[in-house]
Amino acid sequence: MASGSSAHAFLSLAIGSELRQALRNRGCHVGGSNLRVRVSERGPYFYVDGTVTCGKAQTAGDNDIALNPTLIVEVLSKSTEAFDRGDKFGHYRKLESLKEYVLVSQTEPRVETFVRSEDGRWTFTEFAGTEAICRFASIDCDIPVAAIYEGIELGSA
């Protein structure tokens, strides 16, 4: 895996810490970018930029592989955007526990969410601009875009 830019690192932590604060006492765990997610017993395994797991977290390996995330966060970068939006999301959709997939831009204040509905389809919503408030429906949580991006200098890639 290529290492990320500083904006990538700052944004991963920023959204994770906002989520952790919003989810306090709600029975959910927020994981950072050193946790892998396993899609099935045969793989694939992915490092993600953030996870939220509600209820009892199931793990494998040396307790460092998450099996049942409720929500996955990826901070987009130019080199991985096609994969994050395409094949990687296709793999994540096979994770039964997954209810929401969150993409965070590092070039402008913009968060996109895909939320799984009862019938198995995914609803896409874009929250763009510092006035917008992200709605994370699967965990019933609202976070202002401005709070995620506060103080972070955005990159060009």
């Binding site: 955007e81 096609a82 395409g86 959709r93 895909f114 389809r121 995914w122 609803t123 896409f124």
Partner: protein, 194 residues
């Protein structure tokens, strides 16, 4: 979108150059981006989509246009050439040249490795600004798979994925179905690295 960015052009300058040019270019933020040719599977899938969608819409009020038809997202641009577009009722055109459509109902992009991130990301974000657009369709050239984003009244989009040769891709805005078998049968699919 390739890296061969040109100097800044106004939308009027772009259209003047484009109408005289031998190579198509898209236009974003004052810059022109020459379009590259496609692979054989890309071209075959595009042609079969045209046949399948045209056949499904025959006799109705909607029409299919090829990638020769330019689409204008706003008066300042971008200007783009989707692989396929469908408009319903009267076409709204930018001017008397009749070469720039303003009101597509559905646009299709056949994915390729070089443009997939753009098609799924920035290009989709631009297409979402077209008020008439109801569906955005992404067509794989590595496996029989079509993804459809359908606009909802509250501004969200529902993603439905159709996979496999037996699947039928439902286009709700056109009230029709496209058989993936008809699109992919006999097409030598690209390897994922292509």
């Amino acid at each position: 979108m390739s890296a061969n960015a040109t100097p800044f052009f106004t939308p009027e300058e772009y259209l003047d150059i484009e109408r005289a040019a031998e190579v198509k270019s898209e236009y974003y933020d004052g810059q022109m981006f020459a379009m590259s040719g496609g692979t054989l599977p890309h071209s075959l899938i595009g042609a079969r989509l045209i046949a399948a969608v045209s056949s499904a819409l025959r006799g109705g009020r909607c029409n299919v246009a090829t990638s020769d038809l330019r689409i204008r997202i706003s008066s300042r641009g971008p200007f783009v050439y989707p692989d396929l577009s469908v408009y319903c009722g009267e076409p709204e055109l930018a001017d008397n040249y009749r070469d720039t459509l303003l009101n597509p109902t559905v646009v299709f992009e056949v994915l390729s490795k070089s443009s997939e991130g753009h098609d799924r990301g920035h290009k989709f974000s631009q297409y979402r600004k077209i008020p008439s657009l109801r569906e955005y369709v992404l067509v794989s050239q590595t496996e029989p798979r079509i993804e459809v984003f359908l606009r909802q009244p509250e501004g969200t989009w529902i993603l439905t994925e159709f996979v496999g040769m037996d699947a039928v891709c439902r286009l709700a805005s056109l009230d029709c179905g496209i058989s993936l078998g008809a699109v992919y049968d006999g097409v030598g699919l690209e390897s994922p690295s292509a």
